[in-house]
Symmetry: C2
Subunit: 495 residues, 2 copies
């Protein structure tokens, strides 16, 4: 590639290195920071965000992009072209929003999120409604500006910020299929599932943590480049060469920490195996939040809650915790960890009913951004959708539209990623099985190497060179769809 | 103050906020980071250092400083004038060095430090000598450029980077006095000191840590704004509202962790009590490394190894660890923790012989920077000085000129701060006693509030509004001198 492109490589590497510092400071804030450090940490993150933004919107960047695009020669493998396109896309997004709108959003979202914490605790939507109204107003304004710059609808422009290449028109029919399946399947699953026996506790934290470490390493996490810690909300953070996953421990139930660590290990594996030749370049990053979620769900839901792995895991658990061996039999673990129940809270939902929670949010947030739903009408709309989708109704808004932080923090267009990720996970797992004889036999021996190898080749190693659908086409032969997910749910819950 | 000054306030706050991010990343690197994160962390710190430097040397800063200095009105309490002078000083230092020299130093120092680690382990000065030669050459070049910009001698310009306001001409006569005292006192102390009884171990880490936390809190550390962790080399890092101190634990001897935590708590107390109205401004920072060291040594050496506090501490230790109560009697703790022994290693030295180690380094580094001592002649010069000062000689260079990281990392002019700090600690403690009736009685009850209050008023609350000598004049009635330190040593070791 040409000199302008080489200069861009250095500029984007610098911007990404600032993002690495931000990632470490965010990890510290969630895991280590004493409460009194919070205000200063906010300032530190804001200054770094401001510096990164200034570097990205600097006038030379536009000129360099023009020159590099015009020259665009000598890229034999396509990585450079893809990287340049992603640079242009990032620049377009960063320059689309006027500075005073960005500032107003930062201030308004942060204030609303603080009020929301109290409103949720007090189960009182009215106190936060005026704040959310302002958040929605600014989000609509931003969505319109972004949509104009990217030639997309406003809502798609918001989705693009989380999962580029997938818009509402892709999602809507898939979610309609899913909803129809769920209406039919849920009563049948409820009728046929058998109650599990709970393993007898307690399960000391130290034993749980040792087991979590052992399983994360078995999945493929390299602890010379990673840490496992505790936090209120489990997450995967840090950087490619220094990944930080967290979990939380309940001494009465080890499933939460264990499944949490397996989930975050899936995210971590993706980060760890991104193409090092393009580290700190846009093309070297993950291909979006839905693809990222597919990697965590593939490890947790597809592999680790699957029959083969549970066969291996049972004796390991019995050795770690003792007690009645029958409770660790794979059939019982399956009943325990695949139990389906209609519930009001998204983060507690099982694999089968989770999509209902996402479909609800997808529809309501589209209506909010389109201006078809007023914030004042949100609680009633939530209740109506929940009754329609799962046949249950929240007793108050803490069980309804106050439960998630996302909207109150200004994040619209993120929710679909959870269920798109679940579908992509099923689709990728089906393809991995087709391509890899002995995949399940290996998982049944606690061996993730064949699965990891397939994922590295088909997903991780591509960075974001391919968009979500092209990535899935190359790996599975078709774009993102509900087919394999429904087949998976059918095989797991209805056979 | 005027508009230019107000703009400078915002610029310097931004620069300091970047420094806060660097402080947290440095803490993480020493305490949390897995080994594989080290290369990326180096890049993150380098990018942040580069951004902070660019902000400081930006052409507008020079213009704003000129305008603000010319306007310089309406500063009734002197803080603004002092802050502006410190801004100018920081700008002068940052612009004095050509960019290619800064880069060459960063590269050369980092390479030399890596070679030094192996050379020290192999006790082989020859392999690192050519690297150190280059480090010294660049340090001399930098010292000359800084000296020209600051109207100081080259070595003073290096000292100024650590403790502004104190030069070699201040230090040399004080160190000569100290050396004479030591030559006379050391044999007398050795002849009269009695052997201690060692408390019977072991001392479980968890018990030591709980005790360390309790004592740090008693000294005044506020754990809603602080953490205590473990690291190979104990330090105090973090930021004013989020202080991070570390220690290390030896289950055979609790003195190391305990005294380490008390030492770092002294540093932490200073940071915690710096004037919040000038947070993130140059005038709101500590008044230099010697003053900083005075605060740690005042807590550890003056207060906590003093008779009064040991009287309180003895029973606390016995309660924590059990065993023979006689070993926790204050007289025995004094013998144990004030034992004097000629040794070759600075970091293991006692309070009395420590200055000899610093005097040696002060003389040799002056000669290196002046060009009067060649790197090749360093081992022999070291041996000669050590024999002259303490009458002992290193068996090899690992016990001699390879023991400290400082020079190999390019830090010249730092060493005097250790002993200047010890002297300032004695001088401040003497003044605190004069000003505060009942100070020792309070320490004898484990109560640091009177001492802490005096330090907050006389030292911490001034930030760097006053230079080192003006600070000491205001607090103690005289500039930095050896008198009170010698009186302290005499009273503690020769009475």
């Amino acid at each position: 590639m040409n000199a302008a492109y080489r200069t861009l490589l250095a500029r984007f590497a610098r911007i990404h290195t600032i993002a690495e510092a931000q990632a470490m400071l965010n990890w510290d804030a969630a895991v280590m920071m004493p409460p009194g450090g919070s205000a200063a940490r906010g300032d530190q993150l804001a200054v770094l965000a401001g510096l990164a933004h200034e570097l990205l919107v600097a006038p030379e960047i536009a000129a360099l992009l023009d020159t590099a695009e015009a020259a665009g020669d000598g890229d034999e493998d396509g990585w450079g072209v893809a990287n340049l396109a992603l640079m242009r896309h990032a620049h377009r997004r960063a320059t689309a929003l006027p500075g005073d709108l960005v500032e107003a959003q930062a201030r308004t979202n942060s204030a609303c999120e603080k009020v929301w914490r109290n409103a949720r605790a007090a189960r009182d939507f009215a106190t936060v409604a005026p704040h959310l109204d302002e958040v929605v107003r600014l989000a609509r304004e931003a969505a319109q500006a972004l949509g104009a710059a990217l030639a997309m609808s406003p809502y798609d422009a918001l989705m693009d910020g989380f999962q580029p290449g997938i818009g509402a028109a892709d999602v809507a029919p898939i979610f309609a299929t899913l909803e129809a399946f769920l209406g039919d399947a849920l009563p049948r699953v409820e009728a046929r599932q058998k109650p599990p026996h709970r393993p007898e506790g307690g399960f000391p934290e130290a034993h749980q943590e040792a087991l979590c470490r052992r399983l994360a390493a078995r999945v493929g996490l390299d602890f010379s480049h990673a840490r496992l810690d505790r936090s209120l909300h489990p997450f995967c953070g840090g950087t490619q060469s220094d990944i930080r996953i967290t979990t939380r421990y309940d001494e009465a139930d080890f499933a939460q920490s264990l499944m949490g660590v397996l989930h975050e290990s899936g995210h971590a594996l993706y980060e760890q195996n991104l193409p090092r030749a393009y580290a700190r370049q846009p093309v070297g990053q993950a291909a979006g939040m839905a693809v990222h979620e597919s990697q965590s769900l593939l490890i947790e839901m597809q592999a680790c809650r699957g029959d083969a792995f549970l066969t291996w895991l049972g004796p390991v658990l019995h050795q770690a915790f003792g007690g009645n061996p029958g409770t660790y039999a794979p059939e019982n673990l399956a009943r325990l960890w695949r139990r389906v129940a209609r519930g009001l809270i998204r983060v507690d939902a099982d694999e089968l009913t989770y999509p209902a929670h996402v479909i609800l949010r997808f529809r309501l947030e589209q209506a909010l951004i389109a201006g078809d739903l007023a914030v004042a009408d949100l609680p009633a709309a939530w209740r109506a959708e929940m009754e329609r989708l799962l046949g249950i109704a929240p007793r108050d808004d803490a069980e309804g539209c106050l439960q998630d932080i996302h909207w109150y923090d200004g994040a619209f267009g993120y929710f679909p990623s959870y269920t798109l990720g679940a579908m992509a996970a099923a689709q990728l797992m089906a393809a991995a099985r087709r391509d890899t004889p002995g995949l399940d036999a290996a998982l049944g021996g606690g061996d993730f190497a064949p699965l990891r190898g397939w994922l590295a080749r088909q997903v991780h190693g591509h960075g974001s060179r391919l968009g979500c659908n092209d990535l899935l086409r190359a790996a599975t032969g078709k774009p993102l769809g509900a087919e394999d997910f429904l087949a998976h749910l059918g095989a797991r819950y209805l056979v």
